[in-house]
Symmetry: C2
Subunit: 236 residues, 2 copies
DNA sequence: CGGTTCCTTGACACAGGTCAATGATTGTGG
DNA sequence: CCACAATCATTGACCTGTGTCAAGGAACCG
């Protein structure tokens, strides 16, 4: 992780869906006061590892970061993929030790806000704290969603759910985009969904055969979202 | 749910592992000030349903309550079994709408603390709030544990993990107890673990054949916890 | 352009879902 | 308190889906 100095949220295309960006845009506190640090994380390297003290919270600016529950689930138990505009899982409101390891699945840029600075901003603007608590409880809901996506579902349903979920999140940043890019490998997707990479591959092929999606390497296009949703819910 | 008046934590055997109980025992605030309400929940009836406003937080006093993620996972997607001494999943610090439905799997007694009262106590004793945030973040961890227990694991491993987890939690209340009771049906266990009740049954039988457990109806005895743990982790 | 990694596809075996029948346990009313 | 009914648990047979092993092909990187 290499420091890149401080940035100005006013120029950032993610401002509207980014929590630090909204803070910066929202009132008295300028981006400079927030002291957002930007950094590059090379493909395959860790932003932080399990057990490390977390002094900041992080947002993904570009690329994709995977969060791994190494302790309870082993080295390929991926709990979340974070795409641009999203916060990494928050595990406390100041320097707590991380319970996950976060690794870039492709070259990524992140923004970091030190807790110390954040608490200063909160003191000046109390409504920020409430908004932040919202975000944290939503993070808990995302784990429940993943649970629902894999428990009692077949491989095709899981992969359909994964694609729909990822598309919805990427479309927050780029609405109306027909095609999107999978930053992560088939092995990563398999680890996330509790499958094998071969099964993920076969599921992609099957969905393509049914003309619901087009998959070429890492590029994915969803042709029929409604039908894909019916596959996900098992009403095919 | 039938009101049973207010109770006195001083007489309660769960005081040491119960959060309201610790609050009551811990200092200036007496049980009476906490205004803990006790209530009976009959087998199969709901403590609250999805979408209802939650004005209190709840602890299980006896019996067992299942929490169901009806919205994302369907009617048998059980997210948690709450046993005596445990808090039901907390979904906000004051009257938020519930995202789960909570149903008693056997006749149960619960204690309820209204948020309004709790916030008054917090104002008088700030360390209580910090302890409570701990509890809430741990609740998030329990979903991650369940995820780890089912993702990429076979039926025997899941059932072994379930028994070990439940035993550990019940032993907080009754240490050294060799035998414990499963309040929930095989169908409930299956819904929790993402299996079918027949498979749960077969797994119990297989674990019994290996002389790791004794299962007779709802009574379970764990003969060899170490070996059971090795089954769970897949090192058999 | 060559080497490495990643992806796709096939063949096969086995775990677990499904359907069905029997047996045990619990609860209820006479 | 017993008997009956209803629910719940267990077991078997069968079949589908996914993991496993293996090989070939495509994409990516230096």
């Amino acid at each position: 992780m290499r420091k890149e100095g401080e940035g100005y949220c006013g120029l950032c295309g993610l401002r509207r869906i980014c929590f630090p960006g909204r803070v910066a845009a929202g009132g008295s506190s300028s981006p400079r006061q927030l002291r957002i640090r930007r950094a590059r994380v090379a493909r395959g390297t860790a932003l932080y590892r399990i057990g490390e003290r977390i002094e900041s919270f992080y947002m993904v600016r570009s690329g994709c970061i995977k969060e791994i529950d190494v302790a309870t689930g082993g080295p390929d138990a991926i709990v979340n993929f974070c795409v641009p505009g999203e916060l990494l899982i928050v595990q406390g409101a100041r320097g707590a030790r991380s319970q996950t390891t976060s690794i870039a699945v492709e070259a990524s840029y992140i923004c970091a806000v030190p807790w110390r600075i954040f608490h200063q901003v909160c003191a000046a603007a109390p409504e920020i704290a409430g908004e932040f608590i919202e975000l944290v409880t939503k993070a808990g809901a995302s784990t429940r969603e993943l649970l629902a996506m894999i428990r009692g579902k077949g491989a095709l349903e899981r992969v359909a759910g994964f694609l729909l979920n990822l598309r919805a999140r990427l479309q927050l940043r780029a609405p109306g985009q027909r095609e999107f890019r999978l930053g992560m490998s088939r092995d990563d997707i398999a680890g996330y969904l509790g499958l094998r990479s071969e099964t993920v591959s076969r599921s992609f092929s099957e969905l393509a055969r049914r003309e619901l999606v087009v998959v070429r390497a890492k590029r994915v296009q969803i042709l029929d979202p409604q039908e894909l949703r019916r596959v996900y819910t098992g009403q095919e």
